[in-house]
């Protein structure tokens, strides 16, 4: 693999990864995950979707889940109630009930159905590409879904100026890993279409690590003492989109959510 700037970086493994002028991995590119995480972060069998009239198109595809265990990464001492290594979300009891309630109302209450900004980490594993724009100072991450975007401050830690849908991101390099600390999310986002969620006190630490010339390992550790009994971590690869003409297109979904959100207010409806 030739580095994009002619300077490829010998990361600790036996592959080359593009490098920047200042010696960090060059994460510039368009990336996408390939999993059913956005359907459900937890292991799940295939099931009927929320909208039966869509037939198979609306059905939930099966997946083994993306939760890898406790915050320490793969701490095998952390096992769920069935004795498996933690593969489900360690909800506090009241929070689990809220998740179940979210699930029951997902057809209308999932923020994705309403084209709301997705928050972090959900933005990463939605079924749409994202673009990492790594400049000489800060990093911008742009998501195709809903034109979501966030700046990752790299030069100095910048304190959050307000709560927001996409939160507030400060980044740093830990060797070849980009570590992003995300705070100040507004607690109105969900983590997937199954109603999994966090609150406004959620703290997310993301790690983007080169795994091969065209792969990053994406990890996010999620901590929220008001919702979970302990921090937990998801992990999945991000694949580089290799089509020569690949680019983010607009998925400005507001107009596709209007009938769902405002249809009852149209003339002649439900009066």
């Amino acid at each position: 693999m030739i580095g994009l700037l002619g300077a490829s970086l010998a990361v600790a493994q036996d592959f080359d990864f593009p490098g920047t002028r200042d010696g960090h991995p060059d994460l510039n590119g368009i990336w996408q995950t390939l999993s059913t995480a956005n359907w459900n972060l937890e292991p799940h069998a295939a099931s009927q979707g929320a909208i039966e009239t869509l037939g198979t198109i609306g059905a939930v595809p099966p997946g083994l889940g993306v939760i890898v265990g406790a915050a320490s990464g793969r701490d095998s001492s952390s096992r769920d109630s069935s004795g498996r290594e933690g593969s489900t979300i360690p909800y506090l009891p009241a929070a689990r009930a809220q998740r179940d309630q979210n699930f029951a109302s997902r057809r209308t209450n999932d923020p994705e159905a309403k084209c709301f900004l997705p928050g972090v980490p959900r933005a990463t594993y939605m079924p749409h590409p994202l673009q990492i724009l790594q400049t000489d100072d800060d990093i911008m991450i742009l998501y195709e879904y809903a034109s979501a975007v966030r700046t990752v401050f790299m030069n100095e830690e910048v304190p959050a100026i307000a709560e927001s849908w996409m939160g507030w991101s400060n980044g740093r390099w830990d060797g070849d890993t980009l570590v992003v600390d995300v705070t100040a999310q507004n607690g109105q986002t969900w983590l997937d279409r199954a109603g999994n969620y966090g609150s406004a006190t959620m703290h997310v630490v993301e790690r983007y690590t080169p795994l091969g010339p065209n792969h990053l390992q994406y990890e996010a550790t999620i901590e929220d003492p008001n919702v979970y009994s302990r921090p937990w971590t998801i992990s999945m690869p991000l694949y580089r989109r290799l089509e020569p003409n690949v680019q983010l297109l607009e998925f400005k979904c507001v107009e596709f959510a209007e009938e769902l959100m405002y249809g009852h207010l149209s003339k002649g409806e439900g009066q």
Partner: protein, 329 residues
Amino acid sequence: MTRLTLTSRLFVLGLIAAPLAAMAQNGKSDREVPRTAAGQPDLSGHWTSATIVPLERPVELGNKELYTQEEADKLLAESLVVTETEAGTAADVHYQLDDFGLDRSQNPIALNLRTSIITDPRNGRMPASTAAAKAAADARAARARERGFDSAQDRPLAERCIVWPNEGPPMLPVGYNSNLQIAQTDDYVVVLLEMIHDARVIPVDGRAGLPAGVPQWLGSSRGRWEGDTLVVETTNFTGRTGVRGGNVLSANARVTERLTRTRDDTVLYQFTVDDPETWTEPWSGEYPLTKIDGPMFEYACHEGNYGLANNLSGARAEERAAAEAAEKQ
């Protein structure tokens, strides 16, 4: 309702368009501009498009392109005074503007001697619409009068939080939230408009534009460096985005933008709209973008769009009231 003394809070940044235009000739700037490590002029940072210069020149000014400094000072003082509204009247029911950053006096403004943003045609006004564009604009206006409140889909694009005119292209200044952030790599220039959180991702790597049949709200933009000027050509419009005056950019419009960092605190923004389906001749304009401190806020327009729902339920309430009144007669 009284407000704070406006002039005392006015930030006056930047200066004057005439020398900027001269500097931007042939993409040359007359002093060393900041550059990226790759040697490109560095456009990155936070900027504002806030201006008191109108898009179109007042008719009575004819071909007068620039104000004198005295005239400009007077206009600035006048234009930043918000009309007082009388307590107890409907006109007095509005946001406390200086609480929400909607008051122009709270924002840095790029001062500019120009009498209009439009520089061509020479009278500083938009050229005449084509007959077809006029007919289409009339039809849209009639439809809006007839059924403008029937459903969300009948409301204007900006009210629906789909796209705003400050996002362009051409990026035309609006009254408030005029902040934008430019981020730059060797291969891309991204222009992130704070309102309504849209990023224009502009490849500058020579790739072809999108194929026909893939319209985008903000068009398909491709950039290239001409000297020290970033030139951005945009096609693939939707044929639905409005431009002031009731017209829309046609799907076949071509917009050319030129961004030149003329000073440390200034990027000169110039544009040309070439849309023969809509206007009888191309039109061009320019204004300075002025450096501001970041960071920007997240402008989550749709997520907090109570106004749209309230407008619709208000219309339904009026219909119910009218129906009840008719029944009583």
